[in-house]
């Protein structure tokens, strides 16, 4: 019959009060966990998306990320193949590596000149097999919206574009939109036919393929030597890129094609090496090893950027969600604090004579304190247990409800999901938090009870 036992009996004595207090805790905890799970889903979801697209780390020439933009020639990494081989063979780095793959970013103008339309695009030269491998990364088991690139096995001139690009270039066969006016029936006021100068360039590049095919476009870019260069490309697919701003400029092509466009017959370079690790937590270790490897390789002027830096939205979303979560948690914490504080204060007042009796019988002040803290702790533990189970049930219901929403700036809807059971730090943190709040709220009543003057307390009998 220790303190724990006596505390438990006292909780049972006031079943109704204990239950209402529990209810407040459970509701609070469920609210925190569900919002936390929602936040967690968004954060892990966006992280997964970014890691799939940009890798965890990128090796770039210094300044490229901030100033390089679409000027690949000034920021190219020469001898990247040697560097890649070094990374892949490094006994320290290799076990952490999912993939290390080169990429060449370039800007240019894509034109469906037969339709008299053109627009500037941001093209990425990539190795599709590697990229598809990257898209499989899903360390947190989130719902992945990634679609494999259909460039694998496609001819060298095959490219992918965003829906926005396809629309602007009037590649109606790739769109399911009824209001697309196909090439050959130009809208009023628009000229037809390839301009002579562009046609000439195209001929210079030696493209013998017919430009009459509906999905054929020309890509005009500046070479490393500053001369214009044109490639005739075959758009094999237009995809929704999710974010409209990206959708309107996106183009992906084989790395070799991109390099031919920029470097011609000169030694090809790339603008970045994408490194995807098995786990995000490996970033610091991988970074450190990369720095050593870069120093050993004799490559100068290169830097390593992590996905957090490469994708400022990730950090912004993170911070926004953190502040929201913090605010909600604080609010609920305060409510729970006062609810339990009130319950414990009432209990202390009601049991004044009992406290006097226990003290007279020789229970120390600390024993009285422990008794009430014990009651609060038991409430906290039960509340936490019920709260977690309820939150898991609510999370299950939400995750199976099929609710969805379209985030601002996104081109398609996301399922509303909450990651409660999968987010152990969230669970552990919330449970610890609610128990800490419980103990804190019982602290003052318990202290007050322990400080009663015994004879005064006994007079309440």
């Amino acid at each position: 019959m220790n303190t724990w036992f006596l505390a438990w009996r006292n909780l049972l004595r006031n079943r109704r009060r204990s239950l209402t207090t529990l209810l407040a805790m459970v509701i609070g905890l469920v609210a925190i966990l569900i919002f936390g799970g929602y936040r967690s889903n968004i954060l892990y979801g966006t992280q997964t998306g970014f890691v799939q697209q940009t890798g965890h780390l990128q090796i770039q020439r210094k300044g490229y990320f901030l100033d390089g933009g679409d000027n690949p020639t000034a920021y190219g990494i020469a001898g990247y193949e040697g560097l890649l081989a070094r990374l892949r063979q490094d006994p320290q780095l290799a076990p952490m590596l999912v993939i290390a793959t080169p990429t060449l970013q370039l800007g240019g103008i894509a034109g469906n000149f037969s339709g008299g339309v053109s627009r500037s695009v941001m093209a990425t030269g990539l190795i599709p097999e590697d990229r598809n491998r990257m898209l499989e990364w899903n360390d947190y088991g989130v719902i992945s919206y990634a679609q494999p690139l259909p460039l694998v096995g496609a001819p060298g001139d095959a490219v992918l574009v965003g829906m926005g690009v396809a629309r602007k270039l009037k590649l109606c066969a790739l769109l399911e939109s009824a209001d697309c006016v196909p090439v050959g029936q130009p809208a009023a006021g628009e000229g037809a036919g390839v301009p002579d100068d562009v046609a000439a360039l195209s001929a210079l590049e030696g493209s013998a393929r017919a430009t009459s095919a509906e999905n054929r476009i020309e890509m005009l870019a500046a070479t490393a030597r500053g001369a214009p260069n044109v490639a005739s490309l075959n758009v094999i697919k237009a995809s929704n890129m999710g974010i409209k701003a990206l959708d309107d400029v996106y183009m992906a092509m084989h790395l070799a094609q991109a390099q031919r466009l920029i470097y011609g017959t000169a030694t090809p370079q790339v603008t970045a090496i994408l490194i995807q690790l098995r786990h995000t937590e490996q970033i610091p270790a991988a970074r450190q090893r990369l720095a050593e490897l870069l120093a050993e390789s004799g490559q100068e002027g290169l830097e390593v950027l992590d996905f957090d830096t490469l994708n400022p939205t990730y950090r912004q979303t993170n911070e926004f969600m953190d502040s929201m979560f913090g605010f909600i948690a604080l609010l609920i914490g305060v409510i729970v604090l006062f609810t339990i504080g009130n319950t414990m204060s009432t209990a202390v007042v009601e049991r004044t004579a009992e406290i006097g009796t226990l003290r007279a019988m020789g229970l120390r002040r600390s024993g009285i304190r422990r008794l009430f803290l014990c009651e609060a702790l038991q409430l906290g533990l039960i509340g936490a247990a019920i709260g977690v189970l309820t939150a898991l049930a609510v999370a299950y219901a939400i995750n199976h409800s099929g609710w969805s929403w379209t985030p601002p700036g996104y081109a398609y809807a996301y399922l509303i999901l909450v990651r409660v059971g999968e987010d152990l730090p969230l669970l552990a943190g919330s449970v610890t938090g609610i128990i800490a709040v419980t103990l804190l709220s019982a602290w003052w009543p318990a202290r007050r009870a322990a400080r009663w003057v015994i004879v005064d307390a006994l007079r309440h009998a």
């Binding site: 004579a353 009992e354 009796t357 226990l358 020789g362 002040r365 600390s366 015994i454 009998a461």
Partner: protein, 247 residues
């Protein structure tokens, strides 16, 4: 060594600017192994005196020794432990722990005194039998009559075999017959367990049961009655000093 000795003890309650002298200049020794009644009208200071003896209140003047220890100078924790080992309390309103059964109420002080499980069982069992509540062992206080509750309280007060048991008007909430039974029980237990019992009452009837009677009025000892053979012994020893005697 006397279980309790008080020397020039005084206690004053302050209500704002007004000072209420509850006890003045009390000097007395309680004898070992006797049944002492503190008798006096309402407001005479009986409760105040018992609280001081029970080490749950502190005097404004004088010195109190319980079981030979100067209790005033003890820090609170030490004093708590001291009470747990040496003093048993019986209250007017029984003051049982409402969430604990009769058995558990009797067992509680043994926990405080850190007595082992087997010994606890043995002692609680014996006490339950001694107070005649064997069949009510699992009842909560709310499921017991007033007399039964006070029996549990008596057993609880005796659980740790303290040298001193204090009872402040233990029969005031009971009808006279039950009260008499309780007094008889206390008397029997006091003899069997050989403890010093001090209990307050303004009921002249119970004086008959007492070995020693201390009469107080307005916070002063106004008379002492020592009975039976123990009286001679004490008088010879000069152990019981009485001051302010007006007989």
């Amino acid at each position: 060594m006397h279980p309790v000795s008080l020397c020039n003890v005084g206690k004053v309650y302050r209500l704002g600017a007004v000072e209420v002298p509850a006890l003045s200049d009390i000097t007395l020794d309680i004898r070992r192994g006797v049944f002492t009644v503190i008798s006096g009208p309402s407001g005479s200071g009986k409760t105040t005196l018992l609280n001081l003896i029970g080490c749950i209140d502190t005097p404004d003047q004088g010195e109190i020794r319980v079981a030979g220890r100067a209790v005033q100078s003890m820090p609170d924790d030490e004093l708590s432990d001291f009470r747990a080992r040496h003093i048993g309390f019986i209250f007017q309103s029984f003051n049982l722990i409402p969430v604990l059964s009769a058995y558990e109420n009797i067992e509680y002080p043994l926990h405080l005194a850190k007595v082992g499980a087997a010994e606890r069982r043995r002692r609680v069992q014996a006490l339950l039998e001694a107070v005649g509540l064997e069949s009510r062992r699992n009842n909560l206080p709310a499921q017991l009559s007033g007399g039964q509750r006070q029996r549990v309280a008596i057993a609880r007060a005796l659980a740790t075999a303290p040298g001193l048991v204090l009872a402040d008007e233990p029969t005031a909430n009971l009808d006279s017959q039950t009260g008499a039974e309780i007094i008889a029980l206390m008397r029997r237990m006091q003899r069997e367990q050989d403890v010093s019992f001090v209990f307050s009452s303004h009921d002249p009837q119970v004086h008959a049961e007492a070995d020693d009677v201390i009469f107080i009025r307005d916070g002063r000892i106004v008379g002492v009655e020592l009975k039976r053979e123990v009286a001679r012994e004490v008088v010879r020893e000069g152990a019981l000093e009485v001051q302010g005697e007006r007989s």
